[in-house]
């Protein structure tokens, strides 16, 4: 499997740390030093569906394929206004594809998990050209009266078109059942028989615990992929890590090794865009000409679950 087209889209509204400090008990120095985030883009006039379609359209255009050549649509999304139908169904018509599709929710690790599914489907002959769209609006499940979560997130979408090839080399997925470190509960309709009604509540995050687990498990995934493929950090051109917190990226680098330049970031301008963070960064790096044929790339992400995942590419165009 290889990637032949990428696209991304973020909302038009940019919100800086100073903008947040106007109504939250925080400031630019605190947010920047602890997260690396300077700004994020938030949905205001457009919808998540607009972003998803925009990213998908760009990826298909970049791939050189026609929409009728896309065989399958895989969408990664944690939550959006519609519990049902799935986001893949909602955006299918606007993208202009007619193929089947499905949604996955593997939190911020959704993109790497979707890659694993796409690779399996292509190898099994179920599809030849697959469109993955990661579209997320995490700012809609934060409590905007407190600073712990709301300063971290941004909205956005990233998309890739995949086809047969040999660039995708390996993937490692991890799941450790531990709901309490990070969760968002939606309220559901009650019934006359319900005895344990749970009212929804915004995102809950135990920051320090999450930080430790994220660093420990992501480093394990990456080291596993390196070891299994008889590689060291020196063989890797780019470590493209989930953009949740720059300090987490630095800690993982401290364990895995390699210079800071090999660990690109876009978190400064977008914040944490959940499963869209890696495809957005990939799109920007490809369009900037930073990725060359033969580059060895590790992608690694983690999220609520606790889940984490890492994969290896030997890049080809």
């Amino acid at each position: 499997m290889k990637i032949i087209g990428t696209g991304s889209a973020v909302p038009s509204l940019t919100v800086t740390n100073d903008d947040l400090a106007a109504f939250l008990d925080t400031n630019d120095a605190w947010i920047s030093s602890r997260t690396g985030i300077q700004a994020r883009h938030l949905l205001s006039t457009e919808s998540l569906y607009d972003l998803a379609v925009d990213a998908a359209d760009k990826a298909i255009k970049a791939s050189g394929l026609r929409t009728d050549q896309i065989d399958f649509l895989l969408v990664s999304n944690v939550a959006n206004q519609h519990v049902t139908p799935g986001l893949s169904c909602i955006i299918q018509k606007r993208i202009g594809v007619t193929c089947a599709g499905l949604d996955i929710n593997v939190a911020c690790a959704g993109f790497v998990n979707a890659l694993m599914l796409a690779d399996s489907m292509i190898k099994a002959g179920h599809a030849k050209n697959i469109l993955i769209v990661c579209a997320e609006e995490p700012t809609k499940y934060c409590d905007w009266h407190e600073r712990d979560c709301s300063v971290l997130f941004g909205d956005g979408a990233g998309a890739v078109v995949l086809t047969e090839g040999t660039a995708f080399k390996d993937v490692k997925l991890t799941m450790i059942s531990d709901r309490d470190v990070l969760y968002y509960e939606r309220g559901m309709e009650t019934t006359p028989f319900e005895q344990h009604y749970v009212k929804g509540q915004p995102l809950v995050m135990k920051g320090k615990e999450l930080f430790k687990t994220a660093v420990t498990e992501s480093a394990k995934d990456i080291q596993n992929v390196l070891d299994y493929n008889h590689l060291t950090h020196e063989d890797i051109t780019w470590f493209m890590l989930h953009q949740a917190n720059k300090r987490i990226i630095e800690s993982i680098r401290h364990i895995i090794g390699g210079p800071e330049e090999k660990y690109p970031t876009v978190i400064e301008k977008y914040g944490n865009t959940s499963s869209a963070s890696i495809p957005i960064m990939l799109d920007e790096m490809l369009r900037a000409g930073k990725i060359k044929a033969g580059d060895k790339i590790i992608m690694s992400a983690f999220g609520a679950g606790f889940v984490s995942a890492a994969c290896l590419w030997d890049w080809e165009f």
């Binding site: 602890r34 320090k208 930080f211 430790k212 420990t216 401290h254 364990i255």
Partner: protein, 80 residues
């Protein structure tokens, strides 16, 4: 200074981007070495991994100086 302390000192210096000579047992992590709360979490992850130990939340909350960290590591790595 024990080998364990040597390794821990090197790791703390590397993480905090300081010279090893600045990492002495009496140094307060926050007041003297300029650590913030996240540095402390990062340090505990790196030390736990390096020495294959697991600190409790209370232990890490109570550790304030470089010497406290040395004691914590030695508590878990001491052979019976």
């Amino acid at each position: 200074m024990s080998k364990i302390q040597d390794k821990a000192r090197a790791l703390i210096a590397s993480k905090m981007k300081l010279d090893e000579s600045e990492i002495t047992p009496e140094k307060h992590l926050f007041n003297d070495l300029g650590a913030d709360s996240l540095d402390f979490v990062e340090l505990s992850v790196l030390l736990e991994r390096e020495f294959n130990v697991k600190f409790t939340e209370t232990e890490t909350a109570n550790a304030k100086t470089v010497g406290d960290l040395y004691e914590l590591i030695e508590k878990y790595t001491k052979k019976p």
